[in-house]
C-alpha cells in the first residue's frame, strides 16, 4: 500500500504518441518516477516539449499511459473518488466563453452537487480569493489572459480540493500577474493544500517550491529540494573582471573559466567554482594585470538547468 502522506506517485509512467500518416511513434514521456508529499509545493519543471502537459493529462485521466502506473491519494488514476479531492487548471485554459464569471463557477459547482446558499457563499469566497469579484457578471469572452487564469484557478478550487494541479499557471502573464499567482499558491499552501504545478519559468519555481523535478525530453534529470539541487549542482560560480591581461594569460584563463568575454582592455570570466579563484589570481599576478572585481555568484535553478541540458544532450542524442 502507499504511504499515507504521499498524495501523488508515479512509477515508470510512459507515454508514446503515434504521429503522421504512417503512425510513427514519438515518446513524449519516458519512465517517470515521482512522489509528492502532503502539504508541499512541488514544481514540475522543464522546457517546452519536455512532457509536462503529457504527464499532467495522464494524472487527470485525460489520456491513458502507454505503460507504467500512477496513483492519486493511493488510488490508481482515473478513480472517481480521488478526482473528488482534486482541482485542476489546464494549460492555457479555454472555457465556455458564453458564460459569465458567476455562471461559469455555478456550472462547476453543480457538477459537484453544490447548490443554493452554500454554492453562492463558496463562489463569493473564491472570486474574492482570486481577486475577480468585479467580473462576476462579465462574459468570459471579454476576459484577459490573466483573468481567465484566475477564474480558472477559482474553478479548480470549487470543491475545496486537497491536491491542486496547475499546468503552467504563470505562463503568458506579466510580472505583476505572475507575482499574484505565486502569492495565491503560497496562500493555498498555508491553508494546507498540496500543490503540483508545471512551469518552464525556473525563477518562479525557485521562489515557491519545496521540491522540484526537472524533466528534459521526457526524461527526469533531477529531483529534490531546490536548495540542495543548487548547492550540489552549480553552487558558487564566481565572476571576475580583469584589466590589462596579456594574450598568454588570456589563453590560460580560458582553460579555467566556463565563459570568457573580452571587452577592450577588460576581460570578464565566469569560473565554475571557488576552486578556480586561486589559480586565476596567480595568472593575474604573473601577467601583471589588475583585478577589477570578483563576485561570488549564488547559483540558480537556471544554471543547474543549463548544465543539465549540456550534460545530457550527447546521451539524449544517442537515445534518439
Amino acid at each position: 500500500m502507499e504511504h499515507s502522506n504521499i498524495i501523488l506517485k508515479t512509477a515508470g509512467l510512459r507515454k508514446t504518441f503515434k504521429v503522421g500518416f504512417w503512425g510513427r511513434e514519438v515518446t513524449a514521456l519516458e519512465g517517470l518516477d515521482l512522489e509528492v508529499k502532503q502539504g508541499e509545493v512541488f514544481g514540475f519543471l522543464g522546457p517546452n516539449g519536455a512532457g509536462k502537459t503529457t504527464t499532467i493529462k495522464m494524472l487527470m485521466g485525460l489520456i491513458y499511459p502507454t505503460s507504467g502506473q500512477a496513483w492519486l491519494f493511493g488510488r490508481p488514476i482515473g478513480d472517481q473518488e480521488s478526482k473528488a479531492r482534486l482541482g485542476f487548471l489546464p494549460e492555457s485554459p479555454y472555457f465556455y466563453d458564453y458564460l459569465t464569471g458567476l455562471e461559469f463557477l455555478q456550472f462547476y459547482g453543480h457538477l459537484f452537487g453544490l447548490r443554493g446558499v452554500t454554492l453562492e457563499k463558496r463562489i463569493d469566497e473564491l472570486l474574492e480569493l482570486v481577486g475577480m469579484s468585479h467580473a462576476r457578471h462579465l462574459q468570459l469572452r471579454k476576459f484577459s489572459k490573466g483573468m481567465l487564469q484566475r477564474v480558472g484557478i477559482a474553478q479548480a478550487l470549487i470543491n475545496d480540493p486537497e491536491l491542486v494541479v496547475l499546468d503552467e499557471p504563470m505562463s503568458g502573464l506579466d510580472p505583476v500577474g505572475r507575482k499574484e499567482i505565486r502569492d495565491l499558491i503560497l496562500c493555498l499552501k498555508e491553508s494546507g493544500k498540496t500543490i503540483f504545478f508545471s512551469s518552464h519559468i525556473l525563477h518562479d519555481a525557485e521562489l515557491l517550491c519545496d521540491r522540484v523535478a526537472i524533466i528534459l525530453k521526457g526524461r527526469q534529470v533531477a529531483c529534490g529540494r531546490v536548495s540542495e539541487l543548487i548547492d550540489e549542482g552549480v553552487a558558487h560560480s564566481v565572476e571576475v573582471v580583469i584589466d590589462g591581461l596579456s594574450p598568454e594569460g588570456l589563453a590560460r584563463l580560458r582553460q579555467l573559466a566556463d565563459r570568457v568575454i573580452v571587452q577592450g582592455p577588460q576581460v570578464l570570466a565566469v569560473l565554475p567554482s571557488r576552486q578556480q579563484v586561486g589559480p586565476v589570481l596567480e595568472i593575474i599576478r604573473g601577467a601583471g594585470a589588475t583585478l577589477v572585481s570578483l563576485t561570488p555568484h549564488k547559483g540558480s535553478l537556471e544554471d543547474l538547468f543549463i548544465r543539465e541540458v549540456k550534460n545530457k544532450q550527447p546521451e539524449l542524442r544517442e537515445a534518439v
Binding site: 493529462k57 473518488e81 473528488a84 472555457f95 458564453y98 457538477l111 459537484f112
Partner: protein, 253 residues
C-alpha cells in the same frame, strides 16, 4: 443531476448560437409560405399545407440536429473545455449523455416553435387538425432523437465536418432503406450481402414518416405507434452505448 447540469449548460450554449435562429426563421418561413402556395394551387390545398408543413419541420429539425449537434462533443475536445470536466469526478458517459440530452432539449424547444407555427397555419386555413397530425409530429421528433444520437456517435471519433457528412448520409440512406432492399434483389450475391448489411445496420427512418398516412387519412394505430417508439428509443440507446464505449477509450489530445 450532473447529467442535467451538463444538459442545461449545453442548451444554454445552443441558445447563444446564431445558426439556430437562422434555421428556425427559414423553417417558419417555409411553413408560412404554404398559405401563399395554397392560394395559387387549384384543388386539394389541405394536402399541400400538411405535406409542406410536416416536411419543413422534419427537414429543419434534422438540419438543427446535425449542424448544432456535431459540434457538441468535438468542439469541447478541440477547445479543450472538456479537460476541466473529465478531470472532475464525472464518468465520461455522463458527460456524453448530458450533451445528448442538452441537444434534445434544444430540439424540443425548436420543434415546439415550429409546431406552433404549423398549427396556426392549419387553423387559419381551416384544415382539420387530426390526432394523426400529432402522431406524425411525435414520430418526427423521435427521428430527430435518433439523428442526434448518430451525430453524437460520429462526433466522438471524427472531426465536426466529417461527422456532419456522415450523419447527413445516414439520414438520406435511412430514408431510402426500403428502396435499398428492393435494389439489392437485382444485384449479384456479394453486393446483395453488402447492401443488406447496410440495410440492417442503418436506421430505417421511413418508420417515422407518417406524412402519407396524414395526407391520405390512413389509420396508424396505437400498436404501430408503440412499435415505432420502441424501435426509435432502442436504436438511440444502442448508438449512445456505442458512443460511450468509444469515448471512454479516447485520448483527449
Amino acid at each position: 443531476m450532473r447529467i442535467l447540469s451538463i444538459a442545461l449548460n449545453t442548451f444554454r450554449e445552443n441558445l447563444r448560437e446564431k445558426l439556430l435562429y437562422n434555421l428556425l426563421f427559414f423553417a417558419l418561413l417555409m411553413i408560412g409560405s404554404s398559405i401563399l402556395l395554397s392560394r395559387i394551387t387549384l384543388g386539394d390545398y389541405h394536402r399541400l399545407i400538411l405535406d409542406l408543413g410536416l416536411a419543413s419541420i422534419n427537414l429543419f429539425g434534422v438540419l438543427i440536429a446535425i449542424f448544432v449537434g456535431i459540434g457538441l462533443v468535438s468542439k469541447e475536445v478541440d477547445r479543450k473545455t472538456i479537460y476541466t470536466i473529465v478531470s472532475k469526478p464525472i464518468p465520461r458517459y455522463e458527460f456524453l449523455l448530458g450533451k445528448y440530452c442538452g441537444l434534445v432539449i434544444t430540439l424540443l424547444a425548436n420543434t415546439v416553435v415550429m409546431v406552433a407555427g404549423l398549427l396556426i397555419v392549419l387553423q387559419v386555413m381551416d384544415v382539420p387538425i387530426t390526432s394523426l397530425v400529432f402522431k406524425s409530429l411525435a414520430l418526427i421528433f423521435l427521428e430527430l432523437m435518433v439523428i442526434t444520437a448518430v451525430a453524437v456517435l460520429f462526433s466522438t471519433f471524427t472531426s465536426a465536418t466529417l461527422s456532419a457528412i456522415f450523419t447527413l448520409a445516414v439520414y438520406v440512406i435511412g430514408h431510402l432503406s426500403g428502396d435499398l432492399k428492393e435494389f439489392a434483389k437485382k444485384l449479384d450475391e456479394v453486393s446483395q450481402m453488402v447492401v443488406n448489411a447496410i440495410y440492417y445496420t442503418l436506421p430505417n427512418l421511413e418508420r417515422f414518416n407518417l406524412k402519407g398516412h396524414v395526407i391520405h387519412h390512413l389509420d396508424f394505430g396505437m400498436t404501430d405507434m408503440a412499435l415505432s417508439l420502441t424501435y426509435g428509443l432502442t436504436y438511440s440507446a444502442f448508438l449512445l452505448l456505442l458512443a460511450s464505449v468509444i469515448f471512454q477509450r479516447r485520448d483527449f489530445q
